[in-house]
């Protein structure tokens, strides 16, 4: 047996004053009477009946003590359980952004924490508990313990993140923990009615919250400056929404829009300054979930790579490179000395300068006896050109399917160590190789596009994009947005010495540029700044982290049916809580009636 409210047992202290009252001598009220001789007989007879009186007094005392005990038990709300062996509670706490909602005060998460503390309070000395926080990944906050102080401390540390929560994964972890021992119970503290297999008891904390959310912010170039496109959705009662657009922190414009229940609106903000870097859209109305009232976008049309194409004219290459909006292509013809300028990528078609530039290169049909010492003399006719599926950088060929490539003639290439062959012929002669050199990344086509049907294939632009992405990774600016908690691949510049990320609140994380790092602590919403240091130069790029409104903004749950309490999977033992405080209350009333009868008619 355990108590849901052990503090109620403090009422047992009432027994002490009760006994003191019985022990204290009764205070007699003085009355002067005409005579006492009639009362002397009364006193004599009462004295004769005193043993019974004493017994009656004791009986009254016992009844009153019993009444206090029952009263204290009723307050303490005892519960019976089917087993004396301790239980292992595994509490899974949903820490999704929706748990920040304030439609129940102070918030869904705080209410869930209180509920979990109540459960901890009912634990007996034999019980243990494990607390799992369900975020994007489940996290064991407190491992199996019976220490209530430790458990409460763990509960205090729980918070709702800005991300979604993978409850399924957390329940799988919980079940794995439960399967190890006996008498396990899985309790889910969440705000959703969605049923999950294996949950013994649901603790659901939700109200009928009203919420407005910014579901999208993006930018595009317009005729007169930038255009910012935003989408606002109403997940509650009809509302007039006030929106504010800030460009680089300064207010640019304010608009109002009326939204019906469940309605959404696309709002365009035109003539936004092209030089604006970050754009923040905010809903000024108050609602029950504040975290999705702001959205961000960055201007991805500002920083661009510069690439040099040296060719007599090759429309296939021009068009393939032109697909990348962040690459500014500079075209020139053979012999023009543009090496003195800095380019991120050099593309040579049947030509190489005398001195190779420092940077990434894509070379088509390299000349013999040129500065590149990978070309042997002579040409050959490749037979049965095929794709090498065993290359290390497999993302380059993962979307290329065509196999009927025809190549009329090709240069013989030496294959340096650590270089990959992308295309080869039947004899294993390399036709397209790539690899890292001291100068940068190098891609060599052993043939001229004019001698091949490759440019005519649909796979050519795909192959070119893959090669461009390998040499010039898409800038971080090209990330329209990412969701809180999702890992962000940081693509450092070749010449970067150090790369760091500065969160919206100003926290700085530093990384080595290679191997290419991932940034994981993206739980904060807002604009993150990526700073790359190359020598004395600093390059800044930005990416926004926004709420996944499609999953998190609707506070009114789609699952209206409450899950069955006590649904179990094999391996979970049952708990039979029998709340008997009502019976204690009735027993108390009966006892008081008996006490009243004994007092008045006991003689």
């Amino acid at each position: 047996m355990s108590f849901q409210n052990p503090w109620g047992l403090l009422a047992l202290l009432l027994v002490v004053p009760l006994i003191l009252l019985y022990m204290l001598k009764q205070e007699y009220k003085d009355i002067r009477v005409s005579t006492t001789f009639l009362w002397q007989e009364v006193e004599r007879q009462l004295r004769a009946a005193k043993p019974w009186q004493r017994l009656k007094t004791r009986l009254l005392l016992v009844l009153q003590i019993l009444a206090i005990i029952i009263f204290a038990l009723a307050l303490a709300r005892p519960v019976y359980r089917s087993t004396d062996a301790g239980y292992h509670y595994v509490a899974v706490v949903d820490s999704s952004a929706r748990m920040q909602a304030t439609d129940i005060r102070p918030s869904r998460m705080e209410a869930a924490k209180k509920g979990l503390k109540d459960l901890i309070a009912t634990m007996t000395a034999r019980d243990r508990m494990t607390i799992i926080q369900a975020g994007i990944e489940p996290f064991v906050v407190v491992d199996e313990t019976g220490d209530k102080g430790l458990l409460r401390q763990g509960v205090d540390g729980l918070e709702a993140y800005n991300s979604r929560a993978d409850i399924e994964k957390a329940i799988q972890l919980a079940e794995a923990i439960i399967d190890k021992g006996e008498n396990g119970q899985l309790h889910l503290f969440t705000d959703s009615n969605k049923p999950y297999e294996g949950v013994l008891q649901y603790h659901i904390y939700k109200g009928d919250g009203n919420n407005l959310a910014i579901s999208n912010v993006s930018t595009s170039p317009g005729e007169e400056g930038l255009v910012v496109l935003s989408r606002v959705r109403n997940y509650g009662d009809p509302a007039s929404v006030t929106l504010e657009l800030r460009v680089d922190g300064s207010v640019f414009d304010i608009k109002e829009v009326s939204l019906a229940d469940g309605g959404q609106a696309d709002i365009y903000w035109t003539r936004v300054p092209r030089e604006g870097r970050t754009f923040e859209l905010a809903i000024l109305n108050e609602d029950d979930l504040a975290i999705d009232n702001r959205g961000w976008a960055v201007n991805k049309y500002q920083d661009q790579y510069r690439a040099l194409l040296v060719t007599d004219r090759n429309v296939f290459i021009e068009r393939a490179v032109g697909l990348r909006k962040d690459i500014e292509l500079v075209k020139t013809t053979k012999g023009q000395d543009l090496v003195s300028q800095d380019f991120s990528l050099y593309i040579y078609d049947g030509y190489l300068p005398e001195r190779l530039p420092k940077g990434h290169m894509i070379v088509f049909n390299p000349p013999e006896n040129g500065p590149l010492d990978l070309v042997e003399e002579g040409q050959f006719e490749p037979v049965a050109v095929r794709i090498n599926r065993d290359i290390v950088n497999d993302e380059i060929i993962s979307y290329i399917e065509a196999t009927d490539f025809q190549i009329a003639k090709a240069k013989k290439l030496k294959l340096p160590q650590d270089f990959d062959i992308v295309l080869e012929d039947q004899k294993g002669n390399p036709l397209l190789i790539l690899g890292d050199t001291d100068q940068g990344r190098l891609v060599i086509f052993a043939f001229s596009l004019k001698d091949s049907n490759l440019p005519l294939k649909a796979d050519f632009p795909i192959l070119m994009q893959a090669l461009l992405n390998w040499t010039l990774p898409p800038g971080l600016d090209e990330l329209d947005f990412t969701y809180p908690g999702d890992p962000v691949l940081l693509a450092p510049m070749l010449e970067a010495d150090q790369i760091s990320v500065i969160s919206p609140s100003g926290k700085e994380y530093n990384f080595d540029p290679y191997p290419v790092p991932y940034f994981y602590d993206s739980y904060e919403t807002g604009i993150y700044q990526v700073v790359q240091r190359a020598g004395d130069k600093l390059y800044r790029t930005y990416f926004p982290v926004v709420i996944q409104t499609s999953q998190l903004s609707d506070l009114r749950d789609a699952f209206e049916e409450m899950p069955d309490q006590g649904q179990q999977t094999p391996g979970l033992s049952a708990q039979f809580l029998k709340d008997f405080w009502k019976y204690a209350g009735w027993a108390l009333v009966l006892l008081l009636l008996i006490e009243w009868w004994v007092y008045h008619y006991g003689s």
């Binding site: 009764q26 007699y28 003085d30 009355i31 005409s34 005579t35 006492t36 009362w39 009364v42």
Partner: protein
């Protein structure tokens, strides 16, 4: 509250003391005595003997029987009325209503006696005679009675037997003695009443008790202090204790009634809480003490 107001005095005019027996001795008065005399109320005949008042000869009887008979009449004589008022502490210290009722009762009896031209004496007694108004007659002396009653203070211990015996004016005189008391006398009352009987007294016992004495409505623990002896009794006033008291009181009253019946003593129990009208009409009239 004043014991004797105008309203009270007006009511007295209509009262008359009723005596079961005729009283001998004394002269005059309005009370019929056993002595056949010259009043207008006819009683009997007897043969004439020398010395008789010839005005009493019934000449009609002489014509019929040729013997001289004289008419005998009830002779109206004055009676000695003694009113003994228990003035012990128990009569007045615990309940002011009881003291007022006691004085009023004494006044009622005194007035009725004086109005009947009886010789009336009033005495306050506790363990002896404390004070008294000697015998006198005539309504003109009633203010003297009232003045005496108003001066009475209720003090001391009740010893009725001793007190009654100490009332010297009674010696050798027939008459009516009215005792107003709560009979809370530790040594008893029987001996005193017997002594009065021995002294040819017709006794009227007015037993005056307060509402609190008849039905104490107390609850909880009480220390009862005897107002005369300061004896203390501690009692938890429960349902049971009050029932025991009721039984004890009933036994006490039953004993008095039995004794009075045996001794041919007129007895009435009076609740001091009642109004004077209720006392006169419900208690004294019904008991045949007043008419």
């Amino acid at each position: 509250m004043k014991a004797f107001d105008e309203d009270f005095l007006n009511k007295l005019e209509q009262l008359k003391l009723h005596s079961k027996k005729t009283i001998q001795g004394g002269t005059g008065g309005n009370r019929r005595s056993k002595a056949k005399g010259s009043s207008i109320e006819f009683s009997d005949f007897r043969e004439y003997s020398p010395g008789d008042d010839y005005r009493s000869i019934d000449w009609n009887a002489y014509a019929r029987f040729e013997k001289l008979f004289i008419k005998l009449y009830m002779e109206e004589r004055e009676t000695n009325i003694s009113i003994l008022l228990d003035s012990s502490a128990s009569m007045g210290k615990t309940d002011p209503n009881k003291a007022i009722a006691a004085k009023r009762l004494a006044a009622i009896f005194a007035y009725v006696a004086l109005a009947s031209y009886d010789r009336t004496c009033l005495a306050a007694i506790n363990k002896s005679t404390v004070d008294q108004v000697p015998y006198f007659s005539g309504k003109a002396g009633f203010p003297r009675i009232l003045s005496f009653l108003e001066g009475i203070e209720f003090n001391g211990e009740t010893q009725l037997n001793k007190a009654i015996k100490s009332f010297s004016p009674l010696y050798g005189k027939r008459g009516i003695t009215i005792l107003i008391s709560d009979l809370f006398s530790h040594e008893g009352y029987e001996e005193g009443l017997k002594w009065l009987k021995y002294n040819h007294q017709e006794i009227v016992l007015v037993h005056l008790l307060s509402q609190q004495e008849l039905d104490p409505g107390w609850t909880g623990p009480h220390k009862l202090i005897d107002v005369e002896t300061n004896k203390e009794v501690q009692v938890e006033m429960t349902h049971q204790a009050l029932n025991l008291y009721k039984r004890s009181l009933d036994d006490f009253l039953e004993g008095i009634r039995g004794f009075c019946s045996q001794m041919d003593i007129g007895y009435t129990l009076v609740n001091s809480q009642l109004s004077i009208e209720d006392i006169v009409f419900d208690s004294l009239y019904k008991a045949g003490i007043l008419s």
